[in-house]
Assembly symmetry: C2
Homo-oligomer: 240 residues x 2
Amino acid sequence: MTLHDVKAFVFDVFGTVVDWRGGVAREAAPFLQRYGAAGSQPEAFADAWRSRYVPAMRKIISGQRSFVRLDVLHRENLLDVLPEFGIDPKTVPSEALDELNLAWHRLDPWPDSITGLQRLKARHIIAPLSNGNIRLMVDLAKRAGLPWDAILGAEIAQIYKPDPQAYLRTAEALMLKPEEVCLVAAHNDDLAAARKCGLRTAFIARPYERGPGQTVDLKAESDWDVVANDMNELADAVGA
Amino acid sequence: MTLHDVKAFVFDVFGTVVDWRGGVAREAAPFLQRYGAAGSQPEAFADAWRSRYVPAMRKIISGQRSFVRLDVLHRENLLDVLPEFGIDPKTVPSEALDELNLAWHRLDPWPDSITGLQRLKARHIIAPLSNGNIRLMVDLAKRAGLPWDAILGAEIAQIYKPDPQAYLRTAEALMLKPEEVCLVAAHNDDLAAARKCGLRTAFIARPYERGPGQTVDLKAESDWDVVANDMNELADAVGA
C-alpha cells in the first residue's frame, strides 16, 4: 500500500466533494426567471459562469494580478456572464447579485462524500485544498456537514492551484512532508500538479460533474496512487 | 442582547478551552523522572515552561524576530527551562525533547468545552483564535473532539495576539466585520485587545487554570459583553 505513510488527505472540493453544477443551476433558475432570461437553461448558465473561473485565476497565478479570494472572482465573472444570457447587470439590484454569488456557498455534497470523509477522518487529518476561500469552505461545510479538521487551500496559501505553492504551503501548514499528504481530486490536471510537488494522489471519478455530456476527466489518465469510483472506495483502499 | 449580530465565536484555547497546566504536567512527570529531576513538581515545570511564552512572542510582535509558529517557540523555551530543573538539555535525546514538546498537542478540554462548543456551533461559526499553530490546533481538536468549523489564529494571521492584526485578520478571513465576531477568553488582557479592535467579548472564568494558587483572571475585570462561568453558560447567554 503506497499510502501507508500518508497522514493527511486534502481535497479538491468543487466537483470532487460537492456538485457545483447542480447547486449553481438550482439557485440560478429563479434568478434567470426573475430577470428576463426564463428561456435559458440554468445548467448552461452554471457552465458559462464556471468557464470563466480558470482564466480569472490564471491572471493571479501569472502575477498579472494580486491574490483576491474566489468570491471576488465569482462576482466579477457573474457580471461578465449575465449579458450572454440577455441580462444587463445594471438592471439587477446589487443585493440580488450578491445573493446569487452565494450559490457557491450552498452546494450539495455527492451522496458518498460525507460517509467517506467521516471514515477517512478517523485516522487521518482531512482538509480542503480548494481554490475556494475560507468563508466559502466554512459555509459549505456547515450546511452539508463536511467534517473537516481544518480549512486549508488557496486563501491560506495566498495562491491558486495549480501553482506549486498552493500544494507545498498546504503540506507545510500541516507540518508534513509532501509525500505524507495525499490530494484527492476528480481532475487529472490537479493531481498532476500535486504529484510534481511530491504529494500522493487519489483520483475519484465524477463523470457527471459537468453534466451528461462530460468529455473530460471521465477516468484516471495516469497511474495515480489510488483510483476510486467514490469516497467510500477510497476509504476502502486505504483501510479507513 | 448585545450579541445579536454576532456570526462567529472565536476562542482563546490554552486555558479557555483546554487545560494546558494539567496536560503538560501529566506528560512532564515521566520525563522529569527519567532525566534526573524526579524530585521536581511537574506542575511547577509546566508553569516555568509556560512563563517563557509571553516573552518569546513579544520578540515577534515587536518585530525583533520574524514570525515562527508556536511549536518552534515551545521547543526553544523547553531547552531554556530544563537547566532550571537540573537537567542538561544535551543529555536528553532530541527525540525525547520533540516528544515532550508535543505535550502541547495533547491537552484535555475542560469538562464543559465540548458540549458548549457543540451548542454554539449550531447557529454560529466557531473557530480557535489561538496563538497555537494550525497543526497544534488540529491535533488538539482531533484528540479531544473539539468541533471547530475552521482553524484560525496566529499562523493564519502571521502575527501573535495581542497584536491587533491577529484579531482583525481573523475577522477578515471570515469575511465578517469585527463587531460580528466575539472573542471568548478566560484572560482579561486578551479580551481588552479584542475589544480595541471592535470585536465582541465573552469572559469565561477559569479560576484554576494556573492551579489552586491562581491570582490573575479570577474574574471579569471589565464590562465584557458576556461573563460566564463556563461554556454552557455562554451558550445559554446567547440562546444557543
